[in-house]
């Protein structure tokens, strides 16, 4: 176990190093000048030169990269060109909103998707056909289109859900503990804020969940069907186990590994790829921050976001790998 952990940590270090090299090289070869973006439309060439010097963009690339790496070792991701704040502080501000949305979305598609896929696998006929239709729709409908339609119907026409944002105008954010409004308002007993923040989560979470739901349903359905045909299932039934026991303890449990893998990958995607949805729903998360950083040629921020997202992916994969062992003790971490 310890050797496994050491290998994973060393592997992660190489992944991080690789990402820093890639993001640094890409961000410095594109023909856009961060100093110019920082200076604004009306800046003179002299002003831009001063800003370039202040941002230390006038030094050789290897020197800039070395400084970036040494800063990284000390937990310093640099300073954002657009917000002029430490990038770590910016990420602390925006990441909780994305985590909150991703968590609710994950809960939604897992709680709905896994049972639905399971049902579709064991009950053919109408349930299976309806589920298939849902999954096809989930994969086929572009999320941005769904987002706009949901806004149009549930906000503009029926007026039952807010259009977006994290809180209604006039509702103050709770004193931060985790920076996740639902959690913080619960911890502080602010029920009105809790209700309001939960309402604001519904539309973006549903929009994001539908596409992921389709994948989870399909994977669950496929795994359950494959496992149902295995010899050990026939043996279990021959031993006289109840159908419920066969389904839950044998078929479902053995189907969990690919399902968990898929849930993990989808959650990683949510943390990095919910950009369009965050923009449409004015959700102030990492996606919005990344978009603004890219538009502003704020390369330190882009590199910081990329690095954090990559680390989250690595962490999720690590947790999933560990969970394999819990689900199936025969599996070796080696």
């Amino acid at each position: 176990m310890i050797s496994y952990l050491v290998r994973r940590i060393v592997g992660t270090l190489f992944v991080v190093l690789g990402i820093t090299v890639l993001t640094f090289v890409i961000s410095h070869i594109v023909p856009a000048d961060p100093a110019l973006a920082a200076a604004g439309q009306n800046a003179t060439k002299e002003q831009i030169a001063i800003i370039r010097e202040n941002l230390q963009l006038d030094r050789p690339l290897p020197v800039q990269y070395w400084d970036y790496l040494t800063g990284l070792v000390q937990g310093d991701l640099g300073r954002s060109i657009q917000t002029h704040r430490p990038i770590l502080d910016d990420i602390k501000t925006f990441l909780p909103a994305t985590l909150e949305l991703a968590f609710v979305t994950m809960v939604l598609y897992t709680l709905v998707g896994v049972p639905l896929g399971f049902l579709a696998a064991i009950r053919r006929g109408l349930v299976d056909k309806a589920t298939s239709a849902l999954t096809v729709a989930g994969v086929a409908i572009p999320p941005f289109w769904l987002a706009l339609v949901l806004q149009l119907l549930l906000f503009a026409t029926w007026d039952i859900l807010p259009y977006g944002g994290r809180l209604s105008t006039g509702v103050a954010a709770p004193e931060p503990i985790t920076h996740m409004y639902t959690v913080d308002s619960l911890l502080r007993g602010q029920w009105r804020v809790f209700g309001d923040s939960l309402l604001h989560l519904i539309l973006p979470a549903i929009t994001l969940a539908l596409g992921r739901l389709a994948v989870i349903v399909r994977v669950t359905r496929r795994c359950v069907r494959d496992n149902a045909l295995e010899d050990y299932v026939r043996t279990a039934r021959a031993k006289g186990l109840t159908e419920g026991s066969v389904l839950s303890r044998h078929i479902l449990r053995n189907s969990l590994i690919p399902i968990l893998t898929m849930i993990g990958l989808q959650t990683g995607w949510l943390l990095s790829g919910a950009i369009v949805i965050e923009v449409i729903f004015s959700w102030p998360g990492m996606g919005q921050y990344a978009v603004n950083a890219i538009n502003y040629s704020d390369f330190p921020a882009v590199m910081g976001v990329t690095l954090v997202v990559a680390l989250i992916f690595v962490a999720i994969n690590f947790v999933i790998d560990l969970s394999y062992r819990v689900i199936d003790p025969r599996m070796s971490l080696e």
Binding site: G40, Q41, T83, H84, Y163, T169, I280
Partner: protein, 541 residues
């Protein structure tokens, strides 16, 4: 030369009478009936009755900074302008400069010395008193940080003297006409707050979450990428006499323009800064909304590099200008919310040359110009526009289609803004032509024209290679001319020369369009700063 401060009295409520008056003055405020979802107005009213007279503004960009000396872009200025003031500002509804923290000023005969008399009894948000030391300290910080648009005067200012607490003397190296309008953006910060919160970074960290100006509103909270909230500063020197003054401002960042339209229709926000033109057409039918349609301030034009082939050929430039379908662009692309330009300066600007006629689309004339050029059989040239700016993309494609009819191949090259600017700085990398939005970015007409057309322009995103020594000389003289009438005369000559020389293809004038709920009772359009309204002058019921 002395200018006295004028207090704003008797603000203009948005009534049908105002609408008509506004329309007569080139301002259109349209109110109509119909399609508001049930309860939208009631909800808007209910929200207003919850407490203070709150005003919610949907804005399509995100505030980058609330530090007044670090606000180089309009999205940041929208917030900063509510909390900070300079010595001067624009009189609401006009291009006229008036004193704010200065009660008046004199300019020496040689145009080198500006003596400002400061207003007494003005308090900063931290309770300290405004005086000349605050002006000096703020200007020094602004110059040191180098991030405010007002820093363009840095190299021209040789001294800032404070002979007494109510006098500031600014000395410049040479006469500089845009000095006053530039000082509009040189905001004054409380020196006590700067000292107390210096933190080794000139209080930049502290000013990211606090305000220390003299403006009518104080920073309450800034949820980055989500909203900016400000509350009334009770001790504001202009007072709060009007019954409809806004007491609380919430700026919500809503980047999706369709969403902005939905929000204002639903009464979730009081004003939407940007609404798609096709949505505007239906919103005109909504009885709960004002549709404000202000003409003539933003002109989209294509700057031409006349130093390289094929655009170094005047007849070729005339051909491509005549092949631009101006009327169709206005009717089909802007759906009528715009106008055909007359020269490269929008018609509403004071310096606009009224003798310049409307741009004309004429393919036959274009063919004749092309035949007279060095490229009678046509050729190709490149044009860049900002990726994602639909109005530039579609207009470029219209133009491309028309040019193809006369044998010219227009190669479009969309770029991210920063990339476009980077490429434009060198003849080796820039395209033959590039789109540009001529507006009041510099808050000064002279500086805007100089930076766009002069080959000596120091502004990076200014001149696109166009060179004409006569234009350069006139613009240099205009920049040094403090006398308004003479300067306007010079600028009008430049416009005529630029027209004759086809320095630009003047594509379209896009109106400024706002939609507000009828809770908004007082509204001023600020032609000199249309994208950064001062909400103190607004009112809500």
């Amino acid at each position: 030369m002395t200018t006295d401060i004028g207090r704003l009295h008797g603000s203009t409520p948005l009534t049908r009478r105002t609408v008509l008056a506004g329309a007569a003055a080139g301002v259109t405020v349209t109110a109509v009936t119909g399609a508001a979802p049930e309860g939208a107005v009631a909800r808007s009213r209910a929200r207003a009755q919850e407490g203070a007279r709150a005003f919610t503004y949907a804005y399509n960009y995100v505030t980058k900074s609330v530090d007044p000396h670090n606000a180089g872009d309009n999205p940041s200025m929208v917030g900063v302008r509510q909390m900070y003031e300079g010595l001067v500002d624009f009189k609401p509804g006009t291009f006229e400069v008036e004193g704010v923290l200065a009660t008046g000023w004199t300019i020496s005969d040689d145009g080198l010395t500006y003596t400002f008399t400061l207003r007494k009894g003005v308090l900063f948000h931290d309770g300290t008193t405004f005086d000349s030391a605050a002006v000096k300290r703020s200007y020094e910080r602004l110059f040191a940080l180098g991030l405010s648009p007002a820093v363009v005067v840095k190299d021209r200012v040789t001294a800032i003297d404070t002979p007494d607490p109510t006098t500031v003397v600014v000395t410049v190296t040479e006469p500089f006409a845009p000095l006053l309008t530039t000082l509009f953006m040189a905001f004054i910060v409380s020196p006590s707050a700067l000292d107390a919160n210096d933190g080794g970074d000139q209080a930049q960290t502290w000013l990211a979450d606090n305000s220390a100006g003299t403006g009518p509103y104080m920073l309450e909270s800034w949820a980055r990428d989500a909203s900016l909230s400000m509350v009334q500063f009770e001790q504001y020197w202009r007072g709060w006499e009007r019954a409809d003054h806004i007491q609380r401002i919430d700026i919500r960042y809503v980047t999706e323009l369709v969403t902005q339209a939905q929000l204002v229709t639903q009464g979730e926000v009081d004003m939407a800064s940007s609404v798609p033109v096709d949505e505007l057409v239906s919103m005109i039918e909504d009885d709960a909304l004002w549709v404000i349609n202000e003409t003539g301030l933003v002109e989209y034009l294509v700057r031409l590099d006349n130093t390289r082939p094929p655009l170094d050929d005047l007849n070729f430039r005339k051909a491509i200008a005549a092949a631009f379908d101006y009327p169709t662009t206005i009717t089909e692309l802007l759906l009528g919310f715009g106008a055909i330009p007359r020269g490269y300066v929008p018609m509403r600007y004071v310096s606009h040359n009224p003798e310049i006629g409307e741009e004309v689309f004429d393919l036959d004339a274009a063919r004749e110009y092309l035949a007279a050029s060095a490229y009678p059989d046509g050729t190709s040239f490149t044009c860049t526009y900002i990726e994602g700016v639909e109005v530039q993309r579609v207009a470029s494609e219209y133009w491309q289609a028309m040019l193809s009819q006369i044998g010219i191949d227009l190669q479009l090259n969309p770029q991210q803004w920063a990339t476009m600017v980077e490429r434009s700085t060198s003849p080796e990398t820039r395209d033959n032509s590039g789109w540009f939005a001529f507006n009041y970015g510099q808050k000064d007409e002279t500086f805007a024209q100089w930076s766009t057309l002069s080959s000596k322009s120091a502004v990076a995103w200014g001149n696109y290679g166009y060179t004409n020594p006569e234009v350069d000389a006139l613009l240099d003289e205009a920049l040094r001319t403090v006398d308004d009438a003479r300067r306007i005369e010079l600028l009008r000559q430049v416009q005529q020369l630029a027209r004759d020389d086809v320095a630009t293809v003047n594509a379209m004038i896009s109106n400024d369009k706002l939609v507000s709920s009828k809770r908004v009772t007082t509204y001023y359009y600020e032609p000199a700063a249309p994208t950064i309204p001062l909400f103190y002058h607004y009112g809500v019921s």
